[in-house]
Symmetry: D2
């Protein structure tokens, strides 16, 4: 029986394992290009869950807050295939009052195959900018890795 | 330039054309099995849009209503592939106060490849059963095709 | 740090944990109905991986074999939401030469929310029926749970 | 009955209409961020189909060619919602021997909501760079819109 984990911090990097299933692939035999963004979102979700943020709780709170992606740059270097066990390395590279930047490296066998730079904004559910809650920001700050 | 349509009624059947794209397929080279349910949902949405129902309007109305699938049976006979142009044939087979049944036949070159039987319920957004609005029910009734 | 597992056998049932992410949900605020089939496929994949079958290896072998779903019945009882941690209980209920049946119960807090009956066929990549490899069949047989 | 089209050229821009369905949205009530890449891919596919390229035919030909995305930059400005009818404006901004660049503007009510810059490479199915077929390149060249 295989044991795995839903992610852990290694120094300033959050490492999240992710298996490639049929639903992630396309007729080219590899992971469909949009699905790497889905993988990256799962990793970010688990990273901030580790720091106490849960999307649904935040959405249903009085503040009704959520994180949304404002900008994303993706470099596709190699392809992942069915049954591959990937590792997603996520780092916070900048954190401001209402937004933060992350760099995410999707790896196979220790090599980067897809690299993402993501800019996230904190908003209220009606789309207005909101400050990142101080309690989350304070927990993330020691892990910010300037580039 | 190709011209197409977002669906039309042929007697009691709603016919909806649908192209297969990369995102619909998997590494087996065919449409991923769950995506036929997505195709079927698009056809149902366009069918009831033709009869004046729009999901978002219904959701944001005072009644906050939506249709949800309660039961679904799917028979997979043949596979659809990338670039195939499918036709989805949808019939209402029963309509009651708060639910209705549909049969949906996904066709390629005039042959059924996947056949679905779907039971839909009308609910309020907090999950309680709701009556199908009379105005929609009255429009659908002449098209019910008993089996 | 949370620890989890990619599934384990409890008597004759394969139990697979699965977290609900944004990508699994829809504007109704719950898991999109087709995505339960994706969840179920992940559970089946991990179950037969435990018994030595890996899709890609089988596909790239001399026999070029794969499992496909021939028939599926789904009963939707309650909805799963963002951040829910589900458990998928999978049982083989019948195994024949070239096909097998599975029952899958998707649970939240120990209660069935979605129940699937799935008939799978073993085929070659050109779509012809194929015998389930004896080595896999022999390993699965002791776990068949007749209903 | 609504009539639509699967895309047309307006001067040097390919305009492709696309309806937002439940499966495209997430629990935030808007289109899931990765799905704009799926929308964009459908538009590119229809654009080059207009110029005589069909993915499956190219994949199954002697040359076994396909286009893959090498780099993608996405600017998310506003959100699309359930039932929105979007228009995707696609322009080829550069074409070289084995790659091309496209700019894609996803519009709602005539305003850009998501803007993508995509770099595509032509490859053989085993991942090696391949020249864009002359017949396709010659047809696209008059439509290249330098920025």
């Amino acid at each position: 029986m295989t044991e795995t984990y839903s992610g852990l911090m290694k120094e300033k990097t959050f490492v999240f394992p992710l298996r490639v299933y049929y639903s992630d692939t396309d007729a080219g035999g590899v992971v469909y290009y949009a699905n790497y963004l889905t993988f990256a979102e799962k990793a970010r979700t688990e990273m901030i869950r580790l720091f106490g943020w849960e999307h649904r709780t935040a959405m249903e709170s009085a503040e009704k807050q959520a994180f949304v992606v404002r900008h994303c740059e993706i470099d596709y270097r190699r392809s992942a295939k069915l049954d591959d066990l990937l590792e997603i390395h996520t780092m916070v590279t900048k954190i401001k009052g209402a937004s933060m930047n992350m760099e995410q490296r999707i790896q196979l066998d220790g090599k980067d195959i897809v690299v993402l730079s993501v800019k996230l904004a904190c908003i209220t559910m009606d789309g207005k900018p909101a400050r990142i809650p101080v309690v989350l920001r304070d927990k993330l700050l020691p892990y910010v890795k300037c580039k």
